[in-house]
């Protein structure tokens, strides 16, 4: 079966691109942040530098790693589902469920390993650039060089492979079951994530306002709540589609009509696409706002701000920004992959008389509803962490900069989802309809 997996990887590089990209982006982030641990641990690093590096690696690297785990897992859920037909065919030709599972999981491991190995070089460069920023801001002594060691490499490979294999295993198990009933595993995992997230947000209140790692608890909390809400987002998407049906039909005509029907039927399957969307809205809003509140708190502490403080502020935003960009890339990647997979369906619609414009309006309408769901679920997740952090850090519940940051994040989410869906659809529609349905 491993040979079969190897062969199927070699024959179909295009279809595995989404998995490869997710593993590549994810491993880059994990290796880069965890290599800060390696850098901190090398002999000769100044104590202040060690503390600063360990803090960044622990806080941002920590929740970054969690995001990578969730992101790769949700991508795998999407890509394994796309192979349901092929798995059914293998079953009919006599493959046992065990053999199919080994093939799909083996393939996921191979592709994830390839993505993680490809990520080493860019992660090394990015890590160097990051440590250079630490030098510039005086956080780390100039003589301390960036080092990539066992922690960075081990975490990068380990997390990527674990997420890929685990998600592939769960997804293939679901696909092989005769008829999926309620997704029990997802419900349990979602509930656990919500509880853990609430715990993270709650833990903020147990910490000292000046604790350097104070940001970690609410950030983790927000991300876990976002992941938990994502597991329960299908009914929200369905309800939203039903409610906005009339408006969407009016606005987008037959395209809107099809968008609503598709989303109502496919809401459950779309959890894999909603996950990165909700994570992005929740995570980016939470961490960027927390950073803004922290900067304001430092400013309000009465000390005149030196250039160094400002530099540190920039550094923190850069670090948080890297993780936000990763989430955004993941969102684009999974939406593009899910859209490209619909080539045959688009062909069927065109053969039934849909113009290209109507198919594109349908894709646009679907993206709109997906983004709305992402905002509705991601915003409360972000608010939970931001409010807790603000309350503990400043003693008020009026977080600074939040509306502006939120608006920015939501705009980026809408643009990313809309463009990923539409541009992929435009490319997919280049295939003549008669060819698209035959493939």
């Amino acid at each position: 079966m491993f040979v079969l997996a190897l062969r199927s990887v070699r024959q179909r590089p295009g279809r595995l691109a989404a998995t490869l990209l997710a593993a590549f982006f994810g491993a880059t982030v994990v290796i880069m942040f965890n290599s800060l641990h390696d850098t901190a641990r090398q002999p000769g690093t100044d104590p202040a530098g060690t503390e600063s590096l360990t803090l960044t690696a622990g806080v941002v690297g920590g929740y970054g790693t969690l995001l990578v785990l969730l992101g790769i897992a949700s991508t795998l859920t999407v890509t394994v589902r796309q192979r349901a037909e092929e798995m059914a065919l293998l079953r009919r030709t006599g493959a046992t469920p065990g053999q199919i599972t080994r093939m799909v999981v083996g393939e996921a491991l191979l592709v994830a390993a390839a993505g993680a190995l490809l990520a080493i070089a860019p992660a090394l460069l990015a890590g160097r650039a990051l440590v250079a920023r630490f030098h510039e801001t005086g956080q780390v002594a100039a003589g301390v060089d960036h080092v990539l060691g066992p922690i960075g490499l081990g975490a990068g490979l380990g997390i990527t492979l674990l997420a890929a294999a685990g998600a592939a295993w769960l997804a293939v198990r679901r696909a092989l079951r005769a008829r999926s009933r309620r997704p029990v595993t997802r419900t349990i995992a979602g509930a656990l994530a919500l509880v853990a997230g609430a715990g993270g947000v709650g833990a903020t209140f147990a910490m000292e306002p000046t604790e350097p790692a104070l940001m970690a608890a609410p950030a983790f909390g927000s991300i876990l709540i976002a992941a938990g809400l994502a597991a329960f987002s299908a009914p929200l998407l369905r309800a939203l589609s039903t409610m906005s049906g009339g408006a969407l039909r009016l606005l987008l005509g037959a395209g809107g009509h099809l968008a609503v029907l598709n989303l109502r039927r496919r809401a459950d399957e779309l959890t894999g696409v909603l996950m990165p969307l909700i994570l992005f809205v929740g995570m980016a809003t939470a961490t960027l706002c927390i950073q803004a509140v922290e900067s304001d708190a430092i400013a309000a502490s009465g000390l005149t701000r030196s250039t160094e403080d400002k530099n540190l502020e920039t550094l923190n935003v850069v670090v948080v920004g890297i993780v936000a960009v990763f989430c955004c890339l993941l969102l684009i990647n999974s939406l593009a992959s899910a859209t490209a997979f619909r080539r045959r369906e688009f062909g069927q619609q065109r053969l039934a008389g849909a113009t290209r414009g109507q198919v594109l309006r349908m894709v646009g309408g679907e993206a709109l509803l997906l983004v709305l769901t992402g905002i509705l679920a991601g915003t409360p997740a972000a608010l939970a962490g931001v409010l807790a952090f603000t309350a503990v850090r400043t003693g008020t519940v009026r977080p600074a900069a939040t509306p502006g940051v939120w608006l920015g994040v939501v705009t980026v989410a809408a643009l990313a989802a809309g463009l990923a869906g539409l541009l992929t659809a435009i490319r997919t529609l280049r295939t003549p309809a008669t060819v698209a349905v035959a493939a």
Binding site: G253, N262, R350, A352, V437
Partner: protein, 253 residues
């Protein structure tokens, strides 16, 4: 013959795939004139250009040369959108693989061409069509809750919903068992007899072809010069096909 209106007319239609050495002339100046209310089967060995002929006639592909008119109106050329608009109002199509949309119920699938054309989805008409094809009790089922034969009958209802000038069927029984195939063929026959529709069907099953009024034969992208076969029986069709095959081999050799 002079007074019957022509539902479909093809004049000198040619279509070539690829270029240079690898070019394949799938259709070579084919001309056809089908009267309204007729049922025509198109037959030929695989690779003879049957599907290309059907796609060009139905506006799913643009021919390189020649003209197609549907009910006297020339098929527009150029933009796919113009072609789609022309096609969805005048032409119905039944595919071998049904091509129903998986997220739409039987009723929603049947009314889809109207919805796409921006017309009011005529629910009553769709319901009576679905009842007529024997699916009155399954209008709210999704395609994957229906058997192959039932799906194909939904596809027939969808093809008829716009009251098209011509209904094309591409191997409509190719994926069906014998009994479902018979049902679908009888259904196509009755749309001609009872509703006066024009049906053009590609098939390589002589039994299926025997449901038509006339069979035309295609080999190497050209119509068989021996002419069409009227009031076909399965045996007569099979004999002509065998003959066609022999000749194709001789020409090829």
């Amino acid at each position: 013959m002079g007074h019957t209106t022509s539902a479909l007319r093809m004049t000198g239609v040619s279509r070539t795939y690829g270029a240079g050495e690898a070019a394949v002339r799938a259709l070579d100046e084919v001309s056809l004139d089908l009267a309204a209310g007729s049922f025509t089967a198109i037959m030929g060995p695989s690779g003879s250009g049957k599907s290309t002929l059907l796609h060009c006639a139905a506006g799913l592909e643009q021919p390189d040369a020649g003209q197609v008119t549907v009910n006297g109106q020339p098929m527009p050329r150029g933009s796919e959108t113009r072609l789609t608009r022309f096609r969805r109002e005048r032409i119905g199509f039944v595919f071998q693989q049904y091509n129903l949309l998986p997220t739409l119920t039987a009723l929603q699938n049947a009314t889809l061409p109207l919805t796409l054309a921006g017309k009011r989805a005529d629910r009553a008409r769709a319901e009576s069509l679905l009842t007529e094809v024997g699916l009155g009790g399954r209008m709210h089922h999704l395609p994957d809750q229906l058997s192959g034969g039932q799906r194909q009958r939904v596809a027939v209802a969808r093809a008829l919903i716009t009251a098209p000038s011509v209904v094309f069927a591409d191997e409509p029984t190719g994926a069906l068992d014998t009994r479902s195939a018979r049902d679908v063929l009888a259904l196509l026959r009755s749309t001609v007899d009872r509703h006066g529709r024009t049906v053009v069907m590609v098939t390589h099953d002589p039994l299926a072809a025997s449901y038509a009024d006339t069979v035309v034969f295609l080999a190497d992208g050209r119509l068989d010069p021996s002419g069409e076969l009227r009031r076909p029986t399965p045996d007569a069709v099979a004999a002509r096909l065998a003959h066609l095959g022999d000749r194709a081999v001789r020409v090829g050799a």
